[in-house]
């Protein structure tokens, strides 16, 4: 998670945080008038953006998604639940870029695009994972503060995120990746290897995150369906271990290998062009 803090040294990343947040909020706000549960959740095609932002801009996309969601909340869904929304959307963008390189060997093409069958499959898996983690965080918080029952809220957020991310995400990524790469704005091209944490424990971290997300989903639904109304501590306490697994796993998901492989590829390209 080191890059989540060190990225603030780079002016381009700061600007990308602001632009990502502005785009996300600008696309969220018009759809506040299409509520699924008024005051809590609405139809959100913009949910495809955090996942795409995360893959393209890395930690800048994660911060941008979190801030953009908070800005959007001021237009009809502002409450204590917005704290859960901030953290949930942060992880919605964080997990895809953190987990991406887990599925590829170092000598494979790790570009964050969906221009192959394998990459498309990985993208869909990460959409489901990130959507589940985001839904878990937001629904847990909403249930804990007595805002809304866990089970229904979780299902709605999960489907809203997964469907929009899975359907719109590949289209956006295919259209945007070449342009962002041409402009030199991919996070792996801006952030230095020393800004990131080591990839030593990456596989362990990945397992923890998956266990946390899937386990939290199953246990959360069992506990949530067993209680009629929110605010009881069953869901609140029962999901803490799974949330901790996601958090600890995220810390262990180093991305230095990914950044170094891009650096090597860029160096090789420069040598070729000189030759």
């Amino acid at each position: 998670m080191k890059e989540v803090l060190t990225m603030w040294r780079h002016t381009q990343m700061v600007v990308l945080v602001a632009l990502s947040a502005a785009i996300y909020a600008a696309v969220l706000i018009p759809f506040k008038g299409f509520p699924i549960i008024p005051g809590y959740i609405e139809l959100r095609p913009a949910n495809a953006f955090p996942i795409v932002f995360g893959l393209l801009f890395g930690p800048a996309g994660a911060w941008g998604a979190a801030i953009g969601n908070l800005i959007g909340d001021f237009f009809g869904t502002l409450s204590l639940g917005s704290i859960g929304g901030f953290v949930g959307n942060f992880f919605l963008a964080l997990l895809p870029y953190k987990m991406w390189s887990v599925f590829f060997r170092r000598d494979e093409n790790m570009e964050e695009n969906v221009d192959s069958g394998k990459k498309f499959g990985v993208f869909i898996l990460l959409v489901l994972l990130a959507s589940a983690a985001c839904a878990l965080i937001i629904s847990w918080w909403a249930d804990l503060i007595g805002l809304f029952p866990f089970a229904l809220f979780f299902a709605l957020i999960l489907f809203n995120n997964a469907i929009m991310g899975g359907v719109l995400g590949p289209i956006l990524l295919l259209a945007l990746y070449p342009r962002v790469k041409r402009w030199g704005l991919l996070w792996t091209e801006i952030v230095e290897p020393e800004d990131t944490s080591s990839s030593r424990l990456q596989r362990t971290g990945a397992i923890l995150v998956w266990v946390g997300a899937i386990g939290g989903t199953i246990v959360g639904l069992i506990l949530g369906l067993g209680q009629q109304t929110p605010g009881n501590l069953g869901v609140g306490l029962g999901l803490i271990p799974f949330l901790l697994l996601i958090l600890v796993g995220s810390f262990m998901l180093g991305v230095r290998e990914q950044v170094e492989s891009v650096e090597e590829a860029m160096a090789a390209e420069a040598e070729e062009s000189e030759a």
Binding site: W8, R9, T11, Q12, V14, V15, L16, V17, A18, L19, A21, A22, I23, A25, A26, V27, I29, P30, F31, K32, G33, F34, P35, I37, P38, G39, L43, P45, A48, F49, W63, G64, I67, G68, I71, D73, F74, F75, G76, T77, L78, S79, L80, P149, L168, I171, L172, A175, L176, R179, V180, W183, G184, L185, Q228, T229, P230, G231, N232
Partner: protein, 259 residues
């Protein structure tokens, strides 16, 4: 639709230090949750609306009246179904559950309106400087205030692109809600591209003006807490304490409701 919410008025609320307004906003997350009885929540709502009247910001409520109305109706209905009480009203709905639902709906409406008034009376630059004065790192505060400032720009870009696409035959008006949403989706890519394309120029412009050159920086905009800010903060704290005391004394509860 112009998402810029700031209303340029000369009121004492506008002249409050932005930290005071952030404090009031955060306080408004707590105040509605002190009571369960909808009559007390209505009193809190009246107070918030009066504050908005003093700030000459009630006009902005017109933008979200539909959202507020649907929140009121749907939240009340949902809790009437999910909650239970002692006094049957009709079918499976009990009086206490209905009142709790209405109270919960008012809580959400109060926090949304409070957020609206905050943005109506606080400029983006003031939000940024307030965050810095509260100890948030400058770069993060800069990103937040820049994002707030850019939202209207991005929306305007989207509208321009929509008009350009309409002139090329794209029909965005006809069809049901789902069809109209689907027709708007092709606008997402051009909006993204148009906005993100300026990143490098934006970054160069910032660095040419010394962004990040020194760890400590000075600010053009100066804010300072005045006696008025202290008075408002003390008054709000007294109000909150008074409400909590009332609640502890047994007022503002909702007897007979169970979750």
């Amino acid at each position: 639709m112009d998402p810029s919410l700031y209303l340029d008025r000369d009121t004492w609320v506008h002249r409050l230090d932005p930290r005071t307004k952030i404090f009031l906003l955060v306080g408004m997350f707590a105040l509605p949750f002190v009571f369960l009885n909808p009559l007390y929540e209505l009193a809190v709502l009246a107070l918030v609306l009066f504050f908005g009247y003093l700030a000459q910001s009630l006009a902005n409520l017109r933008r979200i009246w539909f959202i507020l109305l649907t929140i009121l109706i749907v939240t009340t209905v949902l809790w009437s179904i999910v909650g239970s009480g002692r006094t049957p009203l009709f079918l499976f709905v009990e009086r206490e559950a209905l009142l709790y639902g209405f109270s919960n709906a008012l809580r959400i409406v109060i926090t949304v309106i409070a957020g609206m008034f905050f943005l109506s009376t606080t400029r983006n630059e003031e939000v940024g400087i307030a965050l810095v004065r509260l100890g948030i790192p400058y770069r993060f505060a800069f990103a937040v205030s820049t994002a707030l400032r850019l939202v209207p720009t991005v929306v305007a870009t989207g509208l321009t692109i929509g008009q350009a696409q309409r002139s090329r035959g794209l029909d965005l008006e006809s069809g049901n809600i789902i069809q109209r949403i689907r027709k708007h989706l092709p606008l997402l890519v051009p909006v993204f591209v148009t906005t993100v394309r300026s990143t490098n120029i934006f970054s160069m412009a910032l660095e040419s003006k010394g962004f990040g050159a020194r760890p400590e920086r000075t600010y053009y905009l100066h804010t300072a807490m005045s006696g008025r800010d202290a008075l408002v903060i003390v008054a709000f704290v007294a109000l909150l304490a008074g409400c909590i005391a009332l609640r502890v004394a047994g007022y503002g509860a909702l007897e007979g409701f169970s979750r």
